[in-house]
Symmetry: C2
Subunit: 340 residues, 2 copies
């Protein structure tokens, strides 16, 4: 059980919110988010979110060779190079909003020659097992990936992170992520499967079948969240889970992105209940599994802009909403300061 | 008829959007907003929105003495002082997002002694006529207020504004604003009346009656948008209308806030059709008249955070969404730049 954000500080923040020179409730969700950030930081009003850091976990998925994606797996390695060069969607958004970006190869099916060594420092393996036919990882690889994610979170926190974000890059990644959500919630594939980056109706039906086959293969092992990672996830998703879990254990708030981040967040909360109290939701995904997982964690996204780029981009776009929340609770006058 | 944003530049921007190294449609509304900004600026990709300026038009409303608001009219002058001291909600948000704030007294029912002279430079009168009993303004005052707003827009544009926002402050302001929307759309008060800063059910029914009485009193004069301002608006709302109209005429994009901004935008578009093409919507209001006016102009808000603070605050909170849109169209790699 993870220690929750401080309820006493949440109360103090709520009192300050009520004492602001604004009509009751007029700040809407900004008020709720400000109270949450204050409770996470243990101080009301909260500190500004100056250091926001997104870590993109990259990896390939064996299942991507089986017709579940609109794109070939080779795109994963190409996108890692695009992150390194700072020209991806998340790079542009992060630069616009003063967010630091780090990309890590956990399981890309490519040696990534010429890419800086520290990108490959945590590499677990090349690709993952096709989950409808075999386990994604060995138990040992799952442990290694979880530990890698936790180590990365500690590094980012040591570097001063006020807020962490996870992104994921890997062609085919919505298939294991939807399977993780189905496993966590005990749902069939029909309820969790979406179009990812844009498969057609026939491919969607096939994807659903692949997920059902994977769930059937994993069987009762899905009762255990770590076994679920071994059976159904991948190195990047297991590492992302470890990263989110460690952020919660260290008491650093996290802004979640789309399906991959939310599937990992839900898994982290299964491994150590209470983790979800450290998470907020950045952007609503078009993937049905994201909404189901968010509902389970009691989270409502700050933005709904129809983005479906992945990479952590929706969460990065939502960072200014959290900064707005902090600004109002810190900087708006108290009614008692006005008067005469 | 106002010249629209450049369709040729919109086409070029749309082509660049399709050529980015992102899956088709993956940027969602950010893509549409980026195309709009490019067309407004006449250049694709668009320039960054470095200079964003919000002007808050303040004024009292005679109708506020007749039980339509949860707050006494004296709050208007107190809030002008809070804007001047930089401690209001919009001040905090503007500081967080690098937005310049200017407050102007168009019709506050107070001499505002001690407030800097330039805040009162455009003052038209003290308060306005209670619209259910008499005209809000004289025809001459309406002309003066419209001209004041246009002059302010020209000043802000001369100062380098890349994007303009209007805010409104005035206890009772949702009553004339809802009446303006009802007049523009030919709707009864029952469809446009909302709770403002929070009146109870009895006061809501009374407010609806006041609006119906005002609409009946104005009669066929509501067929003319300038006559509508004279009969039903106020100095701050007429000035805001002039400001939005001039921004459109000068070809500078505007991000609209809540009900007051949208009521004025709709009126500007009635005065000079095509103005609305220069407007985007920042934040969804809980006031029903805002949704109706936005639908008429074909606009969809970027944010829906349950804010109902007024002051332009919802639009200021949405500025980072437009900056995200500009960033992706400017800075994301083209597919043709990646490759081998």
């Amino acid at each position: 059980m993870i220690t929750p954000p401080r309820p006493d500080v949440a109360s103090a923040a709520r009192e300050r919110l009520a004492a602001l020179a604004t009509p009751p409730g007029a700040l809407g969700r900004l008020g709720d988010l400000a109270v949450w950030i204050a409770a996470c930081q243990g101080v009301a009003p909260p500190r500004r979110l100056d250091s926001v850091r997104v870590v993109i976990f990259a990896g390939d998925h064996g299942v991507a060779r089986y017709g579940v994606s609109a794109y070939p797996p080779e795109i994963t390695a190409a996108m890692v190079r695009t992150f390194v060069s700072g020209r991806a969607g998340v790079s542009a958004l992060a630069a616009a909003h003063g967010v630091a970006v780090r990309v890590l190869d956990l399981g890309v099916d490519d040696d990534l020659d010429g890419v800086p060594d520290d990108v490959r420092r945590f590499k677990v393996r090349r690709s993952s097992g096709p989950i409808h036919l075999e386990d994604a990882l060995t138990a040992e690889e799952t442990r290694t990936a979880l530990a890698a994610g936790a180590a990365v979170a500690r590094e980012e926190i040591a570097a001063g992170a006020d807020l962490l974000i996870s992104g994921d890059m890997g062609i085919g990644n919505t298939t294991p992520a939807a399977a993780m959500v189905a496993a966590a919630l005990g749902l069939p594939a029909s309820e969790v499967t979406g179009r990812g980056t844009g498969v057609d109706a026939a491919a969607l039906a096939h994807k659903e079948q692949v997920i059902d086959q994977a769930l059937a293969r994993a069987g009762a092992r899905t009762d255990d969240p770590v076994e679920t990672l071994t059976a159904l996830a991948s190195a990047d998703l297991a590492a992302s889970t470890g990263y989110l879990l460690e952020a919660a254990r260290q008491g650093v708030p996290v802004l979640l992105d789309g399906l991959m981040a939310v599937a990992c967040a839900l898994t982290a909360d299964r491994i150590d209940p209470g983790a979800a109290a450290w998470f907020a939701a950045g952007h609503r995904s078009t993937e049905p599994a994201q909404a189901l997982a968010l509902a389970k964690m009691g989270l409502e996204p700050a933005l709904d802009l129809g983005m479906r780029l992945g990479e952590g981009s929706g969460a990065v776009a939502a960072v200014p909403v959290l900064r707005s929340a902090v600004a109002v609770l810190r900087d708006v006058a108290l009614l008692s300061e006005l008067g005469g």
